[in-house]
Amino acid sequence: MNDFYNSEYLGVFLDEMDEQLQCLDESLLLLENAGCHGDTIQKIFRAAHTLKGSSAVMGFKQLNRLTHQMENVFELIRGGQLEVESTLLNILFECVDFIKQLRCSILTGVMEEEDVSVLMNRLEAIKNSAVPHPVEQVTKPQAPALHIVFNSTQRGKIAAALTDGYEVMAIHVHLAEEESMKYVRAKLVEINLTEHGEIAVCYPELELIEKDNLFSGTVVYILITKQVEHDIIQSLKQISQIDSIHIEYITNLNLDTFVEGKEIPEIERNKDNIRDKAKAITVLPESKMQVSRTVRVDVERLENLLNLVGELIIDNTRLHSIRSRLSEQFRNNSDINDLNDIAGHLNTVVSDLQEGMMKTRMIPIEHLFGRFPRMMRDLAQKSNKEIELHIEGKETELDRTLIEEISDPLIHILRNSADHGLELPEERSAMGKPRKGTIVLRASHQGNMIIITVADDGRGIDVGKVKETALRKGFVTAAEIEQMTEKELVLLIFRSGVSTAQTVTDLSGRGVGMDIVKSHIEKLNGVIDIATTPNEGTVFTIKVPLTLAIIRSLLIKLGTSTYAVPLINVIEIFRLRTEDIFTVQGREVCKFRNQVLPLVRMHRKLQVQTEGDHDQNPLYVVIIGLADQRVCLVVDQTIGNQEIVIKSLGHYIGNVPYLAGATILGDGNVAHILDVRYIIREAGSHYETHLPKANDSEIMDSQSEKYITFSLAEMDFAIPVRKIKEIVPVQEIHMLAAASSHVLGMINLRGLLFPLYDLKSRLGMLDNGCSSSSRILICEVSGHEIGLLVDAVSKVCLLSQAHLEPAPEHLLINSELLEAIYKENQQFIHLLNLEKALKLEPKRKEVG
């Protein structure tokens, strides 16, 4: 077929196609909503024209035919010969869709084009309907004022040229009134034009100019060319004594009108027209310029460049450390002063370069949002609803890789909002709402997160129905439902089971694909939330991190190794006296500016030895934060700030707890980047806002925590509420072969499997079996979600640190199991250390 297949041009062509299709979509929508505007038509026309041209070059014949026909129709619209109405628009939209499909199939390697004749015929019908009302509406300035009659030879030539993908232009050149040697000028123009292509015919014939008293000063050349009109205009401008130039395209469509023979319009009117058009032309070349200001670059190349910039940054850092060492050594050496200057300048250049490169990765979310108005239009038509889509914050920039990733979830959510969220217009007006439903799509930055919300003013999610379906489908038990909060019930729609409930018409899949949404967002480490109010609407909120490849970071020393902490997460660095460290509920906390913050000793987590002095006092502490959470990290030393390039540890090593990646330092060594998210999630404490004027007992009070108490063999135990996910009645326990003696088996909770631990056997108690009061606590221990079988759940209460006593180690066989004992009035409660009791290794980070 064609050499261009498999060539690099194909990629460029497909990219361009995508861009032009988007442009077509947008402009057609505009045409539909805002009516026929000159600018819009121009835009559409240009898009179709570009598509036509490039498809011809690439040898896609059907596509070329189709776009050509589309162009013809646009030409008619532009000429005012066709009314813009819904049938026409629908056909045009269908054509766009067809081309989109074609693009997709080319992308997947299918080169055969589908037959376009059906669409062609429909376009043809439209076109024919236009011919009856011709140019009589003189008021339309854009009406074609061509006044040449082609003979059959000329016509054949032009038609052939058009089929071969050439442009055929009717170039109107108006010579200056006072010009005496019109023939010479006209001849000059002719010679000039032959440089650009072939002149098929010109009118009036040049030889007649001298004799023709009626000669208006306007000569029309029909040029067959591959040049763009801008170039031609530029070259013609070099000829003096030309008043104005106007270029019109001849297509297969208006070609016919020439043959049919039109009278030469009166000269006066013609002149006005030319003036008008001359103005119009001045706009055109400019907008073409704008298009060419962007350069299409392969993403891979960009990534390579970014990697190189990363290397440059590393070397720059190394250069700086050498520079400072050298300037110490040779203080007054003039060469060193030069070195300092150069290094300083290099530093600025490198940081500018880096910033510039980062910007190339960032693209406005408009690229994604731009697809949605069209989708909404189709959805509205299909479901007979009236929908208004508001888009806000489309200029919000985010990493280009993210754009692709959030596209699918957003489409699902928007579909749901339109399909199921919004009511039919009749329903809406009956309820006193405006007939037209509104969906607001909003994007914004918040710190290092991108927040996207989709809000509709529809009926909201019917919690009752979700409940009903979930129950009927057996995903939850009635008892579980009882214990679920409203929010949890709403979140049930993310369950794949519930969402695939297609048979349920009332729910009508409110949540089709919602599981996909959730998994996509989770993959991006993002968060999704739903807020719904019956009859007022639903708001979906998606938060995704704005991950970047190069970040500023704080370098710290732990033992002999260097670690990097993203600077964005570093809140403060301070020195902590060991006297200010308290142990609350078995965890170390410290007091800082009236806040009580969890203290994490990174050495233990990362199994590194503290260098030198074991009892360093005061300690170096770095407060890290994420969202509203703060955690203190004990480190050996802080080194300083540095730009680092985030590199992955690779698939082979996989995900490692506490590490988010690695980077290469100035000395060429590898340093790990701490995973702030993981550390904070594990430490799991909320930022406690200002305490009342600190005195010790009050601090103690603020250190009390909510616990769930339960009984095991008539003894009371407690675990912190924050570790509990859920409390469920005892259900069928699936035995597990070769399980450790403390594991009873697995339970299946709404499709998820949890291991069930027997605390009694772990604590050396007698098994007294299950009773009706027995419950399973689903809790999170070291990142694992597990079930604990208990005899009864008593209550949730606040246990104050003041009444906690350390477990009497000498009395216990295994003191690790008990963290402390709570003793107040008649109560005697064992505080369990679940991590130790269940001997769970810290969980590896989620893959991906």
Partner: protein, 151 residues
């Protein structure tokens, strides 16, 4: 089982034992450089190195076949091999020579020998026999749930 012939092998030494690695598996051989340990990773992963701007994991073959780490000295080398499109370094005590084998015999079928599961065969040379390593098996089945999505 592979027959002998024209395939070339690099002979490396680890303690008293010699191993052969097919030259096609090898990207390059570099001198030992600073290795940054990766805490909480799989035990036989020694750490990561900076190989011209790339982060490359380095494994200890000693730990892999269950013998104590041999001391690092001037002859120690890192053999960089390709495993599932990633470069991975293997520390050896020395790299001796390139050779090919007249004849290759199947590996000893006993579970007593340390690391026998990573051997592909035994190559005969003039001065004895050398176990041929199967890089895929040596680096694979690491116990890391790669792509497993542990929740």
């Amino acid at each position: 089982m592979p027959a002998g012939g024209s395939e070339q092998y690099i002979i490396s030494r680890l303690g008293n034992e010699r191993h052969a690695i097919n030259i096609r598996d090898i990207d390059e051989i570099i001198k030992l450089q600073h290795i940054t340990a990766v805490p909480n990773s799989r035990p036989f992963i020694r750490g990561v190195i900076n190989l011209r701007g790339r982060i490359v994991p380095v494994i200890s073959m000693c730990r892999r076949i269950g013998i104590p780490d041999t001391p690092i000295h001037a002859q120690s080398r890192i053999i960089v091999v390709r495993y599932q499109q990633e470069a991975i370094g293997i520390i050896v005590d020395a790299v001796e020579k390139v050779t090919s084998f007249e004849e290759i015999e199947p590996p000893l079928d006993d579970n007593e020998t340390m690391g026998s599961e990573y051997m592909e065969g035994i190559g005969q040379v003039a001065d004895g026999m050398i176990s041929i390593l199967n890089i895929q098996r040596l680096l694979g089945e690491g116990g890391n749930n790669m792509g497993g999505g542990a929740r």
